[in-house]
Symmetry: C2
Subunit: 324 residues, 2 copies
């Protein structure tokens, strides 16, 4: 059994060996730049861990793990253009460091490289791997589109919001686990279970991210809290607040999410005070806990050795608790 | 044996049956909009014709043909952002009709859909089909990057230019043919030959496109001639002119390609007059003919029934002669 560190090393080595240092330099430099920022690499780790859990040889899952990580990074390149994000993992985003055209084209190339890596998987698995990979890629795009749509939409319900983060965040984590299971020859039933575990974990993870943006410990979280409020992002906190508020408070909150002439700190503190009054933090924590419990419940139903389950629970808990 | 019209109909039906009419509408509307503009659909036709030439059943090549067409259209969505093109096939480009973010995200989705279609090919062929498809996609991006680079580069040689159009245009046509051959179970040797035929044809096709932009019959060509000159695009005509000119003429030409305060018509006519003096039209025609001859020579070396060869020669000739 490989430890997490050993699996991480395998991923790093596979990424280092990619043919992404050639010409034209203008195309490949942003790709190396992106893939060299190590990040958490949680998705390829999920692939290898799930493979190991079901008795596979993680080395055989490496092409798929690499493909998932390259694909994920490709989506970041394009998302950063769309969201006009200046920084990613503490580095300037590609579209800022170079320009939009570079980020588009280098991103496209990464998508093609990802599929090229996936094609090195066991031939007999390719049809099902490709179908899941493509379905997932399409869903991630759908999630990003809903996210864009919701920015302009007056009312976003909790169900819609959960569906959006399921698509934008959870399906790729879930697919990583399922792909790992598939490469180990796991049963259809178990592959489906680990996928559902991933969906629940992914949703919990994103909700936690929303929570931390307002209630995180700034020193550990690594960025100023209140960022989502400052840009009027309708996260789960806002949606919960609207759900729980009286007409008067709702109008006040909606106005605060439109007004742009208030100093940012004042706006954030006014919104936070409404959140506090309504107990938004607590009810979001409850929601996160319910998805986390669902995930654990699914995991318990899979018949795997205890030390394997422990490894997955460990990674999952770290994902959720990472900055509290 | 299917006629070209029958094969075209199969392609249309396959594209019409794609699951691209769902939600979110903001994502799928631009995709339907793009794929509904029929275009020439030369690439999927190449897939099916090559399949038929080597004794296959074109129906089995349809998923790959569809994948190629979707991929090609995806590249157009992103290229139009990069080139700031207002029109495509007489319609407003996606990034103009909607916006850049829409064109990025809908394009990405098309790329994923393309691979999803490809995955429906015969399982035993998938590894080699995916590898060729991914290699080609990467090369198309490399070609686009060289094209961007050459706009800023002072001197571009003919060899560099040919390599750029090989990557940007020819490899996808060549891969279409090779994929068609592979789906019919053609030998490695014949698959490679039809690929090389496609490369030569693709280069001839792009050179012809350059020629027509300046020397085409405006009524048939469907757009005003001189467009490339107006935007200082270093096409094969410019490169040939630089090659053939004295120092004085070269400086004059280079200055004309920098100056932006001249009325467009005057600039175009001055450049054209230099082209005429240098015999650029004739030497470009010779170059096109040499690639066309190379293509025919390769095609002749493939042992296939005469009526099959005739069909491919017919499509190829139409591509080259289409607007003279």
């Amino acid at each position: 059994m490989y430890t997490q560190d050993q699996l991480h090393e395998k991923i790093s080595n596979a990424l280092d060996a990619l043919p992404i240092h050639g010409e034209p330099i203008g195309l490949y430099e942003p790709i190396s730049y992106t893939l060299n920022q190590s990040g958490k690499r949680i998705r390829p780790l999920f692939v290898l861990v799930a493979n190991q859990i079901f008795g596979g040889d993680p080395v055989e899952a490496l092409p798929a793990a690499t493909a998932i990580e390259i694909f994920h990074n490709f989506t970041l390149l394009h998302d950063d253009i769309i969201d006009q994000a200046p920084l990613r993992r503490g580095y300037e985003t590609v579209y800022r460091k170079w320009n939009t055209n570079v980020a588009i084209l280098s991103g496209d190339t990464m998508f093609a490289i990802a599929y090229g890596e996936l094609s090195k998987s066991k031939p007999e698995l390719l049809p099902s791997l490709m179908q899941l990979f493509s379905k997932t890629a399409i869903e991630v795009c759908e999630g990003q589109q809903y996210d864009i749509d919701y920015e302009l939409q007056q009312h976003v319900g909790l169900k819609e919001y959960i569906n959006m983060i399921r698509l934008k965040t959870a399906v790729l984590l879930a697919a990583s686990l399922k792909i790992g299971a598939m490469t180990a020859g796991a049963s259809e039933e178990n592959s489906e279970k680990i996928y559902k575990f991933g969906i629940a974990m992914g949703i919990a993870f994103q909700l936690q991210d929303d929570l931390l943006d307002s209630y995180g410990n700034q020193a550990i979280f690594g960025k100023k809290t209140g960022g989502d409020i400052a840009i009027n992002k309708k996260t789960v906190l806002f949606i919960k607040a609207i759900e729980k508020s009286s007409d008067t408070i709702r109008l006040k909150l909606e106005r605060l999410y439109k007004v742009n002439n208030l100093p940012v700190d004042e706006k954030v503190s006014k919104v936070m005070s409404i959140f506090d009054t309504l107990g938004v933090k607590e009810s979001t924590e409850e929601l996160i806990q319910s998805y986390f419990n669902e995930a654990c419940h699914i995991l318990d139903s899979i018949n795997i050795p205890n030390e394997m389950r422990a490894m997955l629970t460990d990674i999952a808990s770290n994902m959720i608790k990472r900055v509290r």
